[in-house]
């Protein structure tokens, strides 16, 4: 590897080194605060390494990884989201008994996996990144061993993850068998013309890969793990699963399929469109009557990934920029929502029932305001990032004349979104329950409070003045 390659990979190297470093520090002496600070600091260093990486001369590092502007943008997004998760986790874990230093280890390695996934342009790095991410997640989801729901969620994720990884691998194998290469660009160049007999194996390979990817993204019908895992996992981990893990996989999806010109394969487009439509419908309608906030957010996230898939289908110049914008808005709102859930959670379990939010506006108006902003953004009310993002996706889809998914997108959104309002209503319009305020419940400690404040501002800023951010995306990614 050349020096240029090392420079290009510097954010990933920082992450890997930080993982080892944190492990060594923990081995010497445990201190939650120090470990968390070290983690946050290393994430900042990795973020600072991004401009350096951008200046690198070599962009293709080994045949496996490519560090282009696209990758750097998503790595930056991943690092920022992980930073938020780590800060939220600190406050969350402070409330739990026991030692928690290893948590950060897992978080860092999961992030590393996500970054590898984003930078991959080869099946090997794809699978490598996926497994680094997944194995860390198994442990993270089941991190609070004393809770049965946690263990159960981890087990489910493990079993189903293994099954879907098998499908993914098999798909890759078929494509390799057909084309003799595992490099994305070479696959795109060597793919047989649509409609030919040889294309069958390719299509099947893609189909199986879609299953694996669809599982990670929790798209219908591969979504079944999501509600259980969201509900069972600790709130910050849920935030990580629904943002970093899905975001990295979506970045990969776009990178892998963009050069393939999927629109030449009508059947593939139909399958993806069907998955998108099913995800939007199932997500929005199943969320309607949920009594668990985390389960509700799981279904909402299923629907949101369906919206993203609409942008993916659009695949015009607008869509290239719509996807990152949507992801940023979705990240901010989702992290914030789970941040509030985490802040309301005590040592006995997460604040999952609606009861926990009853009258929150009186007990903790700031927390209630933050949650409201997040929910309104997820709902797509104007002046929040969610509206602009949804509009952006709609615009991209309309310009590519992807009418039916857009139709479903806004209809299901219009009809299904009532569920977010239920939480808002409970927070503002119901008197608080009579139970005494537990210290944990009233406390959104400093790190998570700061993160929530920033996320709230971000959500509103994205809604009111998105122009600057759109410009950043357009100059960075879409050039």
């Amino acid at each position: 590897m050349t020096t240029g390659g090392l420079i290009a990979l510097s954010p990933l190297i920082v992450l890997a080194a930080a993982t080892v470093g944190v492990m060594l520090v923990i081995a010497l002496d445990r201190d939650h605060k120090r470990t968390a600070a070290l983690t946050l600091a290393s994430l900042v260093v990795a973020l600072l390494a991004l401009p350096i990486a951008a200046s690198a001369t070599t962009r293709q590092v080994t045949p496996l990884l490519v560090v282009d502007d696209y990758a750097l943008f998503y790595i930056g997004l991943t690092l920022a989201a992980t930073f938020a998760v780590a800060a939220l986790s600190y406050s969350y874990l402070e409330n739990l008994a026991g030692q928690h230093d290893e948590y950060y280890l897992l978080l860092l390695s999961a992030t590393l996996g996500a970054c590898v996934l984003i930078a991959s342009n080869h099946f090997v790095s794809f699978f490598l990144g996926l497994e680094i991410l997944s194995v860390s997640l198994y442990a993270l989801i089941g991190y609070v061993r004393t809770r049965q729901a946690c263990i159960e969620a981890a087990l489910k994720y493990l079993i189903l993850g293994a099954a879907s990884a098998a499908a993914l691998l098999f798909g890759m194998a078929l494509i390799y068998a057909e084309l003799g290469t595992m490099d994305y660009a070479q696959i795109a160049a060597a793919r047989p013309p649509p409609g030919s007999a040889d294309a069958v194996l390719l299509l099947v390979g893609w189909g199986l890969m879609l299953v694996g990817i669809g599982f990670k993204l929790a798209l219908v019908p591969f979504h079944l793990w999501a509600p259980d895992v969201y509900q069972g996992a600790p709130a910050p981990v849920t935030a990580f699963v629904s943002t970093v893990s899905k975001g990295a996989m979506f970045a990969l999806l776009v990178r892998f399929f963009a050069p393939m010109n999927i629109h030449a394969y009508p059947s593939l487009v139909v399958v993806i469109a069907a998955i998108a439509v099913a995800s939007m419908l199932v997500g929005n309608f199943s969320a309607l009557l949920q009594t668990s906030v985390k389960r509700l957010l799981a279904f909402s996230s299923i629907a949101h990934l369906g919206y993203l898939l609409v942008a993916f289908l659009a695949s015009g110049a607008l869509a290239v920029a719509a996807v990152p914008f949507y992801l940023v808005a979705y990240f901010a709102a989702t992290l914030g929502a789970f941040g509030v859930v985490g802040a309301r959670s005590g040592p006995d379990g997460d604040a999952d029932g609606f009861e926990a939010y009853r009258g929150l506006s009186r007990r903790n108006p700031w927390l209630a305001a933050a949650f409201t902003a997040m929910l309104l953004s997820l709902l797509g009310i104007p002046l929040t990032g969610g509206f602009v993002a949804k509009f952006y996706v709609g615009l991209a889809a309309v310009q590519s004349a992807v009418w039916i998914p857009v139709f479903v997108m806004f209809l299901s959104g219009a009809l299904g979104l009532f569920y977010y309002m239920r939480i808002v209503v409970i927070m503002y319009m119901r008197a608080p329950a009579d139970q005494p305020i537990t210290p944990a419940a009233s406390l959104a400690s400093r790190p998570s409070g700061a993160v929530l404040a920033i996320l709230t501002l971000l959500v509103v800023w994205l809604g009111v003045f998105p122009a600057l951010f759109i410009e950043i995306i357009q100059t960075w990614i879409a050039r």
Partner: protein, 794 residues
Amino acid sequence: MPDRLRQYRPLLLPVAGLLAAAALLAVPAVGWAAPAVQEGHGGGGAFFGLMPLLILFPVLGLLINIAWGRRLDEKWVGGIASGAAALSFVIAVLQWVSLRAVGYEAQTVYLADWLAIGELRAPWAFQVDTLSVTMMLVVTGVGTLIHVYAIGYMHEDVRANGDPARFPRFFVYMNLFLAAMLILVSGDNYLTMFVGWEGVGLCSYLLISFWLEKGAGGIGNARAGRKAFVVTRIGDWAMLLAIFLIFWTFGSLNYQEVFGAAASFRLDAQGQWVVTAITLLILMATTGKSAQLPLYVWLPDAMAGPTPVSALIHAATMVTAGIYIIARSNALYALAPFSAGAVAVVGAATAIFAGSIAIAQFDIKKVLAYSTISQLGFMVAAVGLGGYVAGMFHLVTHAFFKALLFLSAGSVIHAVEHGHHHAAAHHTAGGSGPAGDHVPAQAHGGAAGHVDAGKPGQEDHGEHDALDPQDMRNMGGLWNRLPVTKWVYLVGALALAGIVPFSGFWSKDEILHDALGQQNWLVFGLLTVAAFFTAFYMGRQLMMVFAGQPRTEAARHAVESRPLMTIPLIILAALALFGGLFNLPSIAGWTPPGAHALGDWLDHTLGAAPGGEHAGEAAEAAAGAHAGAAQAPELNLMVAGISTVVALGGLGAGAALYRGRPATAGERDPLRGVLGAGFTLIKDKWYGDELSDLLVIRPYNWLAHVSADLIDWRFWHDWFHNTVIGGIFNGFARFSADFLDLGVVDGLISQAPAVLARAVADGFRRFQTGYVRYYALIVFVGVVAVLGYLLFVR
């Protein structure tokens, strides 16, 4: 008198403070925004730079009330909110002044960039032209009066409902609504308009369910709010699709650019199709927001909100948004005559449909609610006919007299409630409390449900313990007890009924005139009958509320409201009386001074819109009609005659039929004798609620229930696991244990494996591993489906 004035004193400081803030902000704002305004109009347009303040004031007001509302006195809270509304009104007036100075030329006031995606540019910019300023003046003017009224009204209301702490919240929502509504009418493109469009929907939802925990069964109001939210969302969805289509077709969302592009639009087959789709989608959005057939169902339920909300949002402003946007998009409708025709027919059908329902309602607010739907139908019909001036004229006058009627109805309800309490106090304590004094919350418990307008089974009730203060059968004889309310109510009713020279006469007449001018006999006929209904139900209502003898103790002891509430009523009454002066027609060759004022004024915007000159013959017809409508016409004596006869006839028939009847609260409605079974039909609203319940609400709830409860929970978690997976697994375990082990392996190692298998099966169920197997099964099915499609369908 000093005592009366003293209650206003707390208003002084907040108003002064807001004025000072305004002055402070105005100076830099002018300097800052002035360059953004087109130069070259001399100094006349100086006030355009103040445009952002129009929205900033309500936002400031609500921020202040969020921050300090809890600690401030009620008068301050209300004063700040009203002051903010009043300042916005001042800004709107200044815009009018500036527009005059620049010769009514439309201005764009640029504030900041918002969205810039590809070719799409949607900045935060304001469209200041005669159409938007008209809306601004109505929204802020009527809004201010309603805010002031609400100070008095909500003072009582929060106590009657037992939660005075909710007072500031009401005004926060009201200011929020004002801000959203002003964004809606002042944006210079469809997207910022949509921001307001969604915003007012949200505020409407919040205010309808203001007393969330009240209403029928404790969830009536929550349900009403939810209904409004979901139903209007269908319209919002249509609006969003229309916006996408507009961008797709014209490459812009800016009003000027879209209408400019529309003028040179090549109207081939596909173009015709697209424009028709856009305009029909806007119509659909209008049926949601402006409560037209078939999406009108939410508006009557929306009366669950406090009365000032009904007046401001559900009569004067928000529900007219659809009319505004159709008038704004007149260049598009000129290209799509089919859509324009559809708009006219939907409006006229709604007018007669809702009008017929209103004549058989007993709830004083329900009558007004259906009346509002009906009057909105008049406006929609007018803009559909191309009579944009007539539609806007009616919008303005309707804002005056319907806001007046709602607020007066609120005053009547209060009076009856007071009387009810007074009477109850008489009975129990034998003495009377000081009249007009505030009652403790608990004592008012019986009336706590008064905000609920949707109680079932109101028809056949007698004198109940829990008196419904909104039921007109519980009123009667209030003429002598409400010295102010009776007059203003009368003015509002006559204006609504369309009696010369009240404002409603002039605007309604102009709509009928346009229908006749187009020889659209269907619309003309429907609207004429609807006008008869209007007069009839107002005659009925006047008689039932004010005439005859009191039918209950509550009505007997009714007390007039405080000046804080009655002064806005008097101002509104003056507007309802003289509102016709805004747009008088020429009468028999004589043009009164100021005639056609609104028409000429709006013509600067509507007339300047690029019409159908380049757009084919069909469009030219529509454009021609619109041009004819824009020149406020000669008073057509035949139309005026018909409408006067119809109005007087309706009023007279209503008055005659209800003269002295019903004599007691339990007596059956005299109209029932005339209409027979038909009465039940219209009293039950042609079963529109049931129909929408059957067609929309129930499938919606069912789907939600099925997907969340049944599929996600009961099916996946309980039934499928326990029955299917558990059954199969147990069956298999039994098979392997009983048959294989015992039979084939002939119980070699006794029964240990079987026990083990059972233990596994049990454990499996307890740890819910079965779910995962099931999930894996579904994943597998998905794999098969995906691959099957790719392989065999391709």
